[in-house]
Structures are given as C-alpha cells and as structure tokens.
C-alpha cells in the first residue's frame, strides 16, 4: 500500500521554518513594492533641460524657435523674449501662441505653456547666407513647487540662401548621446 504522505523530519520544526520563510518573503515583497513609486519628489532638472531651446531658419528671412518643456514643468507666456545679434532693426515677434490661463494669487491671470512651444520669427528683410545669434529668455516652474529665474539660451543660425529650404535644427544645449537617450 503506497503511503502518499512522505514526512521529512519533525513536522513541528518544519512548519516553524515555513512560516518564518513565508513571513520574510511577504515582508520583502511589500518593502520592494512600498519603495517603488515613492512619495518623494523626482529629481529636479536644470532649467536648460526642463525648458530645452532649439531653433532653425525656415528660409532666408524666417526663424523658427522652439521650447520643449519637460513633463511636470511649465513656462510663463509673458516672460518669453527673443532678440537677434547682429541687431536687425524691427525683428518682429508676432503675438505668441495663447497659453493655458491660470489664476495667480498675486499676479492675477497668467498664461502658461507646457509641452512644445513653437514661435515663428520673421526678419524684416532677407538675410540669406548670414549668420545670426538668436537669444531666447524664458521663465518657468516645476509642478512640484519650485520656480527658476529668467533663463537665457542662445543658438547660432546660418540663414539659407534665397529660395533654399529649412536649415538644420540647432539646440542651445545638445543632449549628450548615451545608452539612455
């Protein structure tokens, strides 16, 4: 007659170890889970990464400026400013795209930008082949509750010859290529 139960050592001792082991596993798993999405703030980015500035020349008389605002950050529309060197009299900054309206206790209604912000900047006259430095000032905050002072970023652009298509995108602070990018 086969005996289905094969006992290994003293049953009382074995079940004690079982419970200790199971308890440790349970505690271990719950600690791993608890430490995962922690309530602590994520690491804050420096402003040139939180508000990545880049630009390109679309043609011999139009620049296109872009801010890539990282998730969890926002820019103030009112604080966006552009300038070019050499100074071109009458650089037109057309009305900026509308932002999201926010009620600020102190300043009243403010407009903010998240995600990608693109602004076209027409030059008063064609400047094909010329090199320009485009300066962008921006000011923004992180949702976790900090704000950055006005941050200045610059790119140098060479305008394409008359009739030629968009130039390459130039980043103010190029990302370092690494495994993780």
């Amino acid at each position: 007659m086969a005996s289905p139960n094969i006992s290994t050592g003293s049953p009382a001792k074995r079940s004690h170890l079982d419970w200790v082991a199971r308890a440790l596993v349970g505690v271990g798993i719950s600690m791993v889970l608890a430490s995962g999405p922690s309530a602590a703030d994520p690491k804050l980015l420096p402003p040139e990464q939180a508000f990545r500035f880049s630009a390109r020349a679309l043609n011999d008389r139009t620049l296109e400026a872009r801010f890539a605002v990282a998730d969890g950050y926002y820019l103030y529309r009112e604080k966006l400013k552009f300038a070019v060197e050499p100074e071109i009299a009458g650089l037109a900054v057309p009305p900026l795209p509308p932002g999201k309206v926010k009620e600020d206790q102190f300043f009243g209604k403010v407009e903010t930008y998240r995600g990608d912000v693109v602004v076209k900047l027409p030059l008063p006259m064609p400047a094909g082949g010329q090199s320009l430095v485009l300066t962008a000032d921006s000011q923004g905050c992180a949702d976790v509750g900090v704000c950055y002072p006005v941050n200045r970023q610059k790119v140098t652009l060479v305008l394409p010859a008359t009739g030629k298509g968009p130039g390459a995108v130039v980043e103010a602070h190029p990302r370092k290529k690494s495994w993780f990018n």
Partner: protein, 178 residues
C-alpha cells in the same frame, strides 16, 4: 525532504534581498537633502545685504538664535505661498529664539510692496545674482526657489531644503535646535 527546507530558505533569502534592495532604492529615490560646499556656511554667516529700505544687514548679527534663511522672490508663486506660514512661525517661536530672514532675488521696490501686503514680520534682504550663486554653493544646484537653510545657534548648517518647507517639518527641526 531536505530540498523542501532549502526551497523555503532560498525564497526567504530572495525576500530579504528584496527588502534590502527596497530600502536602498527607497532611500536613493528620496529627493536628497541639498549638500552645501565646504566654505558655504562661512560665506552665508558673513553675508551682508541691504534690506528693502536700503539698510545693510549682516547675517551674523543673529548669531545665538536659530536662523532660517529663506531664498525667495516675488516672481516665484510657491515662495509667496509659503511665507504666511513663516510669519506665523516667527510670531510663535521668535520669543524662544527663532529668527527668520528672507533673501529676495528680486528688486527692492517689489520686495517692499509684497512685504507690506502680507505684513512681513521678519527682515527681507535684497540680493541679486550673487545671492542665487550663494544658494548654489549651499546645495541648490539647479538654482530654483524657494530654497531654505536652517542655521543652529552656533551658525552651523542644520538643514537645507529645496522647495516649500512645510510648517510641521519646520517646527520639528527648529524645536530641536531652540
């Protein structure tokens, strides 16, 4: 037989490793307390800046008190929002030796106006880019605001904080130092 016992011990070992990893990564993910550079405390203690009325104030005039140095600006909404609680703390703990000092990275007239509006009961000093740079050496590597440093009665740095310093945390730290 013996295998079953081993089986459970392996699972327990994995569990313990999981616990250890969880604690390690949990600590890592906590936003780290900004670390001051070696000479930063001395620089902060020796700092002299004009207040909103233009009168020069030295930080070391408050040596012997627990000093909370709060870097802020009127253009920083979270900074403005935490200040009413600082006013309460100054009222409550000032008699016991707390001194809060604001350093505004801002223009004097805006600082004056806002200080009057909220009934500021502690000094508001006016700093420029130099103040931001000092905060960087105190551990504010991204140079954002608000940034707060707490000095003990001897002028040593007891705590640094990037972002709003909530009242219960402020009270917990300050009461230990008073």
């Amino acid at each position: 037989m013996r295998r079953a016992w081993l089986h459970w011990m392996v699972i327990a070992a994995v569990g313990i490793l999981g616990l250890a990893a969880g604690i390690y990564f949990g600590v890592e993910r906590e936003s780290p307390t900004p670390k001051p550079e070696p000479m930063a405390a001395a620089a902060l203690n020796g700092l002299a800046l004009p207040d909103a009325e233009g009168k020069e104030q030295r930080i070391d005039q408050w040596r012997g008190k627990v000093v909370i140095v709060n870097f802020w600006a009127t253009w920083c909404a979270p900074c403005r929002e935490e200040m009413p609680e600082f006013i309460k703390s100054q009222n409550e703990l000032g008699p016991k030796g707390l001194q809060i000092v604001g350093i505004a990275v801002d223009q004097a007239d805006k600082v004056r106006q806002f200080a009057a509006e909220i009934g500021l009961n502690y000094p508001a000093l006016v700093g420029g880019f130099g103040a931001m740079e000092l905060s960087r050496t105190l551990g504010n590597t991204v140079m954002a605001l608000p940034f707060t440093v707490i000095l003990d009665r001897k002028g040593a740095i007891a705590h640094t904080q990037l972002g709003v310093l909530k009242p219960d945390k402020l009270n917990a730290i300050v009461k230990q130092l008073l």
